[in-house]
Amino acid sequence: MNFLLNTGRTIRQGSYVERKNSDAYKGEATSLYMHPVDMMILEIEEGSHVRVESNQGDVVMKVHPALWISQREVFVCLGPYANYLVAPETHCSGMPDFKSTMVTITPTTDLLVTVAELMERCGGVRYED
């Protein structure tokens, strides 16, 4: 099912921003907010994992119902998970389309990845304290 992905700040994202390798940050940055009607159509429950895919790649997130968002739109706080889906095209403005990425969402049983794992997928080497 196709959705428009919007991103933005949340208070929890801000709170954990200096602990990006913590479970708390991972929990917030992988939280995907979706209208309950869309959840019904997808036959998923609160806390279900979904695979979110754009033309850039795909990443697993966890669904939360939200009445403050329209149907066919989803919201994820800004961060490496959402940005894994965002294209680097800026249309000569310097600014990518952080608030208007088309994504396809399907239910999955795959696990969430850590920020370190996600960065490894980008070619990095994980650092652990």
Binding site: L4, N6, T7, G8, R9, T10, I11, G14, S15, Y16, E18, R19, K20, N21, S22, Q56, G57, L67, W68, I69, S70, E73, F75, L78, G79, P80, N83, Y84, L85, V86, A87, P88, E89, T90, H91, C92, S93, G94, M95, P96, D97, F98, K99, S100, V115, A116, L118, M119, E120, C122, G123, G124, V125, R126, Y127, D129
Partner: protein, 429 residues
């Protein structure tokens, strides 16, 4: 020891009324701060010492080695980029820009993925703004457009707008009207007198409709504009025009949505249109505590607020070409120094992949997403806790942040000065 009037180095509000209790090198308590401030001051998750990637693992190295190796990487690079800057104080930013000048590097700050489009709009049509105290003391109509202060700038409403009593508004919450415009019903929207839900990508059209109404052209407005009814548009325009002092604040809902800088331009032109009838100001809600400072320092040294390329010897500025995301997307740069930012988390994946490909060095107190992409990370003191320096609030008011205790980490300034000296020696006179 309790320290008063502490400056919070989290968001662009730069609140300077915190009371922080310190015990040795530890923050014990924070008063007056928001959730974000509490996390910032109470948090203790520092990287202990410089680290270097060693094949498939990491090793701890000395500051001397880390700085020397960083200088070598930067000197070896043909097209280095020095990115970040909004999470450090102005004195460090200044050295960073001079380092870029010396290297013939590209230097860019986090505005590039934040209010860069606002800067482009301002460069087209200007910026009628004011300091936040003008709003607090005078504004009877406040608009938040594409911004959610309750989450992103938690004390903005209580210090400067909705809940802040001012000289001409003794009971602010009763006397001020609040308009919130967004594509989703945010926490901030819940307390608005008027909430306008716009279809995604519809900001430009709604701004144009309001401009037309303010110009007296109600008859041309269709029944609905980007999901907003004509009746609501009329009501909102009347509310805007009823102000003695109106203040518009806008966020990334304008800069990141389709239209980008054209959205902001339209919002500024609405402000200008309203200024012909009554007093109006408009202000971007700047994110990082010192992102505006990075724009200021960049500007007085290079002439441009961000995206400056020294490769030609002169300062060259062409956003869309010299902006970080574009340079990384084109796989153009061959080394990157990151200071006070986390592009691994906040740039699109393709950019993160290029950062992993090239030698990336990060100067930052904490491990973050960029850490895993880097070759070297050098931990530094946190400005506002164990380092001090100048910061510029979102409205341009400069405030000196405080050092609450002398810690064990060097400041960004100290590291960058050493780096500058090494590069200067290597480059010769």
């Amino acid at each position: 020891m309790k320290i008063e009037d502490v400056v919070c180095t989290f968001c662009g509000c730069l609140c300077d009324d915190l009371v922080v209790e310190v015990d040795g090198r530890r923050v014990v308590s924070v008063e007056n701060g928001c959730t974000l401030a509490n996390e910032k001051f109470m948090g203790d998750h520092r990287l202990q010492s410089p680290i270097r990637r060693n094949g498939k693992g990491w090793e701890h190295i000395s500051y001397d080695d880390a700085i020397r190796e960083t200088a070598e990487i930067l000197c070896d690079a043909d097209r280095p980029i020095l990115y970040g800057w909004s999470g450090t104080h102005g004195e460090a930013q200044s050295i960073g820009i001079h380092l870029a000048e010396l290297l013939g590097a590209l230097v860019d700050n986090t505005s590039t993925v934040c209010h860069g489009p606002s800067i482009l709009a301002i460069q087209e049509v200007g910026h009628p703004g004011c300091t936040l105290g003008q709003v607090k003391n005078r504004a009877d109509v406040v608009v938040y457009w594409g911004t959610n202060p309750i989450d992103a700038h938690p004390r903005h409403m209580s210090r400067y707008t909705t809940f802040a009593d001012g000289f001409f508004l003794k009971e602010a919450f009763r006397d001020r009207r609040l308009i919130v415009v967004d594509v989703r019903k945010t926490e901030s929207a819940n307390i608005a007198d008027e909430f306008i839900t716009i279809e995604p990508g519809g900001d430009y059209a709604v701004l144009s409709a309001l401009r037309a109404i303010v110009r007296g052209k109600r008859e041309i407005i269709p029944p609905s504009v980007s999901g907003v009814s004509r009746e609501q548009l009329f009501r909102v325009a009347d509310l805007l025009l009823s102000a003695k002092f109106g203040a518009i604040f806008f966020g990334l809902g304008l800069t990141m949505s389709p239209g980008k800088y054209k959205n902001v331009r339209n919002a500024i032109e609405l402000t200008e249109e309203l200024s012909r009838h009554t007093k109006y100001t408009i202000s971007p809600m700047r994110g990082h505590w010192n992102v505006y400072g990075s724009n200021e320092v960049f500007t007085w040294i290079t002439g441009y607020p961000y995206a400056v390329d020294f490769a030609r010897g002169i300062a060259f500025y062409n956003p869309g070409e010299t902006t970080s995301v574009d340079v990384l997307r084109r796989k153009e740069c061959d080394a990157c120094l990151v200071v006070g930012s986390d592009p691994g988390a906040h740039f699109p994946k393709a950019c993160a992949e290029h950062l992993a490909r090239i030698p990336t060095i990060q100067i930052d107190p904490h491990t973050n997403a960029t850490t895993h992409l880097s070759r070297i990370q050098i931990p530094v003191a946190v400005t506002g806790i164990d380092a001090e320096g100048t910061a510029y609030r979102m409205d341009g008011v400069p405030i000196r942040t405080r050092m609450l205790f002398k810690g064990e980490y060097p400041s960004d300034t100290e590291i960058l000065e050493r780096l500058y000296t090494l590069v200067k020696e290597a480059k010769g006179p």
